[in-house]
Symmetry: C2
Subunit: 158 residues, 2 copies
DNA sequence: TGTGAAACCTCCTGCAG
DNA sequence: CTGCAGGAGGTTTCACA
């Protein structure tokens, strides 16, 4: 799908604040409310906007701590990789999972209620999985930047 | 703020799909539309809901690739750490930044338009920063799980 | 908590530029 | 593609029970 500068500006706004009215958005980018709605619908239907979500503070729901885990598989074979991707998707404690090149095969962000809780998690998720060669846990002391705001360069759009 | 089971159920819904009508939410959790809206407003005001955002597909806006970078500082001193946190917040290419214990001091998720673009970024962001001792780049081959869904255990709420 | 009313917003459609 | 206008339905905030 081909985007123009107005789409880009709308995206950069709604990706950080999705509760503006169409009229507000219209005055911000210089369009009518109707045009804004048409464009947002187009962006949603085309999958440019993948989802619209509320961000919940983890501490408020009893998950104050997070770990960053570097995972290495026994063998980097397609079926093993796919199987591990599946288990990532099915495990709610894993908030974030990346398949990467380099020292590790996967990098995960895992939330926990406590250290003991995380320890229990590692037993079930890592030690009982024969595909996993090893993992290294780094405790997250501060989530400096969370969120998924993509930098948007307006000059790249007509 | 004290949450109950209904709040927890509302949160678990809106954190993955924030476009339900209040009435839909009401029938899902067993409340009237008005009560749902009152609760959501309370959760927003209390900061339990930190933000409401649209998730934009990075590929659609010209940022098809991502790197995961392990950063080590020259010295882990409070003022140096704080200065680096600030530069993370001010740099849009850094989508995600964590201050961690262990082998590295920070872990970043950086988006780029291309490898050359990333190389330019590393010169400006890492090599020109005297606080940085070193960094190790891992190319993200697949973003298996992105998003911010916190696992919510309903049993933990009255 | 629920109900009901009023004001506003959304979303879709048709029409015109 | 744009804006304008109309209508159905959802949101949001009141007061009141």
């Amino acid at each position: 799908m081909q985007l123009d500068r107005l789409d880009a500006r709308l995206l950069s706004i709604v990706q950080t604040h999705n509760r503006h009215s169409s009229e507000e958005l219209g005055t911000m980018v210089g369009l009518s409310a109707t045009a804004v709605q048409r464009r947002l619908k187009r962006l949603r239907d085309a999958g440019v906007i993948e989802a619209e979500v509320a961000v919940v503070k983890p501490k408020s729901v009893g998950r104050p701590i997070a770990m960053l885990v570097l995972v290495t598989l026994e063998r980097e074979r397609a079926d093993i990789v796919d199987r591990f991707k599946q288990s990532i998707r099915q495990t709610p404690e894993v908030m974030n999972g990346y398949y990467v090149t380099g020292d590790a095969d996967f990098v995960l962000i895992v939330t926990a209620e406590s250290m003991e809780d995380y320890e229990v998690f590692t037993r079930k998720f890592f030690y009982e999985n024969p595909d996993i060669k090893g993992f290294k846990t780094m405790v997250v002391m501060d989530r400096v930047k969370t969120g998924f705001s993509v930098p948007i360069d307006f000059d790249h759009f007509s």
